[in-house]
């Protein structure tokens, strides 16, 4: 014991080895669990409950029993991986990286870092002030502020789980494009005077937290803490969402919604965006419902537009940002981003 205290590097490496072993073991368990849920759901539905195969009820119950554990497993596994990855990024480091960048390149880098940097909308204001104070152009700052919530990890994993990697990838790429273009547009509009005046007067104290040097076991511990927090926040929405989705699956006739939410109804995309803005907390519950709607004839672009409006233009975040932005700039931010989302929605409806 005394030896390991005098040799912190040794203690650190054994601690890390133990952490890697633990994570590796958990990964094996995860894979095992992921592979038994389909047979288990079928067995429960058709053998144990004795519901007839092919019946509406049987279809709905089997769907529910398979999808709930599948999505919860995917969420916990992938959010853990994403959180570990994100422990290598911080707003302070991002700010330093963006410091010398011009508009254009700066917008692209800002949007990419927006996805990778851990971000909570409650920190949007100090982050905004920190960026502006470091001389990062307003448009570049907005590329970051749009990408960070828009490419939402829960939404990304849910889309992957329910629609496959292609749709999740489309969501990621189009989110980045909207963030880059919207930031460029806001930068061109020269809206600096619509930032609240006090922001320009703030002088930072220079006393930032010293860059933390984390060990792997600390990274894993924090990633696990973060995963637990997210799952505890969203699991109920996921269960309710899948229950509603299962009901729609079993009972609503095929193509019933093609007329209302299909690609031919031109007004469905803007409608989806308008409906999405006030719907913040339930982003996780929305996707299973939306997936079921799509199976009945709703169009992918409409669905993605809805998804993005829910996460990128949330009312609580707009209220928080009002502390540093004058109404005119808030309106521009919402208008430009919403227009981008609507365009992407139409594009997907046309292409796919």
């Amino acid at each position: 014991m005394a030896k390991s205290v005098t040799n912190p590097a040794f203690e650190r490496s054994t601690g890390d080895r133990r952490a890697w072993l633990l994570v590796g073991g958990a990964a094996l368990l995860w894979i095992g669990a992921y592979n038994i849920i389909q047979p288990l759901a079928n067995w429960l539905t058709y053998e144990l409950f004795g519901i007839a195969q092919g019946s509406h009820l049987g279809e709905a119950v089997a769907f529910f029993l398979y999808d709930v554990p599948k999505i919860l497993l995917l969420l916990s596994g992938m959010i853990f991986v994403i959180s570990t990855l994100r422990s290598f990024f911080s707003p302070e480091r991002t700010r330093a990286l963006l410091g010398g960048k011009r508009e254009g390149v700066g917008n692209v880098v800002a949007a990419a870092l927006g996805v990778l940097t851990p971000f909570c909308s409650c920190s949007a204001v100090p982050l905004f002030i920190g960026f502006v104070e470091a001389g990062i152009p307003l448009g570049v700052t907005f590329s970051f502020l749009i990408a960070a919530p828009m490419v939402n990890e829960v939404a990304l994993v849910m889309l992957f789980g329910m629609f496959g990697w292609q749709v999740a990838g489309l969501y990621l790429v189009s989110g980045l494009i909207i963030a880059i273009v919207s930031g460029l547009v806001i930068g061109r509009l020269q809206m600096e005077r619509y930032v609240e005046d006090f922001v320009w007067q703030i002088k930072g104290g220079g006393g930032a937290v010293a860059e933390e040097h984390l060990t792997w076991s600390q990274r894993f511990a924090r990633a696990w803490e973060n995963t637990r927090e997210i799952i505890s926040k969203v699991w109920l929405y996921v269960v309710i969402g899948i229950a509603v989705g299962a009901g729609i699956h079993g009972y609503v006739p095929q193509d019933a919604l093609a007329g209302v939410m299909g690609a031919d109804a031109w007004w469905s995309v803007p409608m989806a965006v308008i409906l999405g803005v006030p719907l913040y907390a339930s982003a996780a519950g929305v996707i299973p419902v939306v997936q079921a709607l799509m199976a009945k004839g709703a169009a992918l672009g409409t669905v993605l537009a809805f998804m993005m409006a829910v996460v990128a233009l949330s009312l609580p975040e707009l209220i928080i940002l009002r502390r540093v932005l004058k109404p005119r700039l808030i309106a521009t931010f919402v208008g430009v981003t919403a227009a981008g989302i609507i365009l992407i929605g139409y594009l997907f409806n046309l292409v796919i």
Binding site: P118, C120, C122, P126, G204, G205, G207, V209
Partner: protein
């Protein structure tokens, strides 16, 4: 006497941090005054970019997360 500041605009995590800090102070029988800083201009004295922030005797010791009780205890007693 220790001076502890909680930096944040009243979000859920800031309140949780305050509860934990109060608990640590009580558990260790420390003498400390707790201040809540909600003004963004003041927070920038410590260049804070993630809330909640924790300041002990004018030094920012953590930001953007809720530290464990053991970590907080070590900052308050060192």
């Amino acid at each position: 006497m220790l001076n502890v500041k909680i930096l944040g605009s009243g979000c859920a995590n800031c309140k949780r941090l305050e509860t934990i800090v109060r608990k640590v102070i009580a558990d260790h029988g420390l003498q400390a005054e707790i201040e809540k800083v909600t003004d963004y201009g003041q927070m920038m004295r410590w260049n804070l970019m993630k809330t909640p922030g924790l300041v002990v005797n004018d030094t920012l010791v953590s930001s953007g997360r809720i530290p464990t009780e053991a970590e907080i205890a070590s900052w308050l007693t060192s």
